[in-house]
């Protein structure tokens, strides 16, 4: 492999610059975070994590994120299916719209949902300051992940496998269960992992929807309130916990995906 950079010197310089940039922007701040969280020793770390508010926030965060991930797996796969296999006027526009939650600032997402499902709701549904509202906001921001993960795989899927199954007597449901789904599973898992990681950290869309009530306060809001009240080490402890959970999930799913691709061409 020929490096376009002048010989070894250039490559080493490049590596140095990249490492410096990453360290300055990402790694050192994270290190500072971890340091602060364990500043008072593990005892204080544990105390911060087990305060009633922190616990209820974490519980809500995890439960809501799991629910949202499951809904996304089903709805996301269905939507990807319709976008790839079906055809109807406006499908192209719909396909572009899927990415809107990704492009929209999260606080605007919150306002958008409140416009329809908030206190002035024209359809009489008001989820402001409720846990349902939290789930709704998370569904909004995590929409693209499973859809975009499944779409390309579905597009590339060998249609002849389905025809072969049909010629062997398999009905559409059997074909879906035994042929299509197993081939989509790695992509679904990857999308689900990203959706989960996003959901547990979501902040902007929840800031307006959940008010400041303990029963609708997720961990990210808890962290924010702790910072505002000066308890930065407590905030840091919960932050590190969230970070570790996200990393563990991403790693696990990465392994699972790798394993389920073991027979790939």
């Amino acid at each position: 492999m020929v490096a376009p950079l002048p010989r070894l010197g250039g490559a080493a310089l490049g590596r140095g610059l990249v490492t410096a940039y990453l360290s300055l922007i990402v790694l050192i701040p994270i290190a500072a975070l971890v340091a602060k969280s364990t500043e008072g020793g593990l005892g204080e770390f544990w105390d911060s994590l087990t305060s009633p508010l922190a616990v209820s926030a974490l519980k809500l965060t995890l439960i809501a994120s799991v629910i949202v991930t499951l809904v996304n797996v089903i709805a996301g796969t269905a939507i990807a299916w319709v976008l790839v296999r079906d055809s109807f006027p406006g499908k192209r526009i719909l396909n572009s719209v899927i990415d809107l939650p990704f492009a929209l600032p999260t606080v605007v997402a919150g306002i958008t949902l409140l416009a329809l499902y908030g206190t002035d709701s024209p359809v009489g549904i008001n989820v402001a300051f409720t846990r349902a509202g939290v789930v709704l906001a998370l569904l909004f921001v995590t929409l693209p992940f499973v859809v975009r993960a499944v779409q390309p795989v579905l597009l590339e899927l060998d249609r002849e496998m389905e025809e072969a199954a049909a010629s062997l007597g398999a009905g559409p449901l059997t074909t879906f269960r035994r042929i299509i789904l197993p081939n989509l599973t790695p992509a679904i898992l990857a999308g689900a992992a990203l959706a989960f990681a996003r959901a547990i950290g979501e902040f902007g869309s929840l800031v307006l929807l959940s008010g400041n009530l303990p029963r609708t306060q997720v961990s990210s809001l808890f962290i924010f309130s702790q910072i505002e009240s000066g308890n930065t080490s407590g905030a840091a402890a919960v932050s590190v916990t969230l970070l570790v959970i996200a990393l563990v999930v991403l790693l696990l799913i990465g392994r699972l995906t790798h394993w389920s691709l073991r027979h790939a061409r």
Binding site: L194, F203, S220, I223
Partner: protein, 268 residues
């Protein structure tokens, strides 16, 4: 085709369209409605106040700086990862993907800790007159953090795909590394870069949580557009909030269109 097949196809279509309408399409439509509820004039006035204009200006400025930095980093890093050998690539990739796994408030907190009075860098910087927190540099750093992965992630596969044969040919013809990069590599990866830039820009424009913490949210000084929207909504200036949201939504839609256009060019 058997009737049951058509029924299930229509059923699935109905479900998908219904879900998307209820969750996405109708709520976004409501923004348009609410913004103009009191007339286009009121909407215009609300988003053209000095504070609002400053907020938009700040948002765009920060995004421009952050995305530029990440583009240079992204292309350079991609070249490094794809075209050179070194140990620790897995670690590098993990570090690059880190922003995807971290909540924006956690990012904000980590910067707050690092550059605060008590922080590792904060003390020295403040003593020497460098204000990072509650000022532009901090907000830029936060935005760079959150939008870091996008350009790298889009350029890496493109570099893999085009292979280095063209670059080798250029070398045999006497081109040095800059000429090769500028005339051969960059043109070949331009759509990957464009797509990555659009994604990074979308993320940077929309950043909220991290900037909320590091900026101190001083109106007219360190308030970006999303933060301004938050304030307006909190103070019940709904027309202002909705109108600004509309502007941001239109920016987002513009980003979507760019994404679409570049995605197709990238695939071609």
């Amino acid at each position: 085709m058997p009737a049951s097949r058509t029924a299930s196809r229509l059923g699935l279509r109905f479900f998908a369209l219904g879900y998307l309408s209820m969750l996405l399409l109708i709520p976004v439509g409501m923004i348009f409605y609410r913004a103009f509820e009191h007339g286009a004039g009121a909407a215009w006035d609300a988003v053209t106040t000095p504070e609002a204009l400053h907020a938009f200006y700040l948002t765009i400025l920060i995004a421009a700086i952050a995305v530029s930095a990440n583009t240079i980093f992204g292309v350079g890093c991609a070249l490094l990862v794809v075209r050179t050998k070194f140990r620790g690539k897995a670690l590098l990739n993990a570090a690059i993907d880190l922003p995807f796994a971290i909540s924006p408030v956690v990012i904000g907190l980590s910067l707050y800790l690092l550059y605060g009075r008590e922080g590792w860098f904060g003390g020295w910087l403040l003593d020497n007159g460098f204000q990072i927190l509650f000022s532009l540099p901090g907000m830029v750093l936060a935005t760079i953090f959150v939008s870091l992965p996008f350009v790298v992630r889009e350029v890496v596969p493109v570099l893999h795909e085009i292979g280095d044969e063209q670059e080798q040919a250029a070398h045999t013809l006497g081109a040095n590394w800059w000429q090769t990069f500028w005339r051969i590599t960059l043109p070949a990866i331009r759509w990957g870069v464009a797509y990555g830039v659009v994604l990074a820009t979308a993320r940077a424009l929309g950043e909220f949580g991290a900037v909320a913490i590091v900026s101190g949210r001083v109106t007219g000084e360190t308030e970006t557009a999303p933060l301004w929207v938050w304030r307006e909504f909190g103070q019940f200036n709904l027309t202002g909030a909705y109108s600004a949201s509309l502007v941001l939504a239109m920016l987002a839609i513009g980003t979507l269109l760019a994404m679409n256009a570049f995605r197709r060019k990238e695939a071609a």
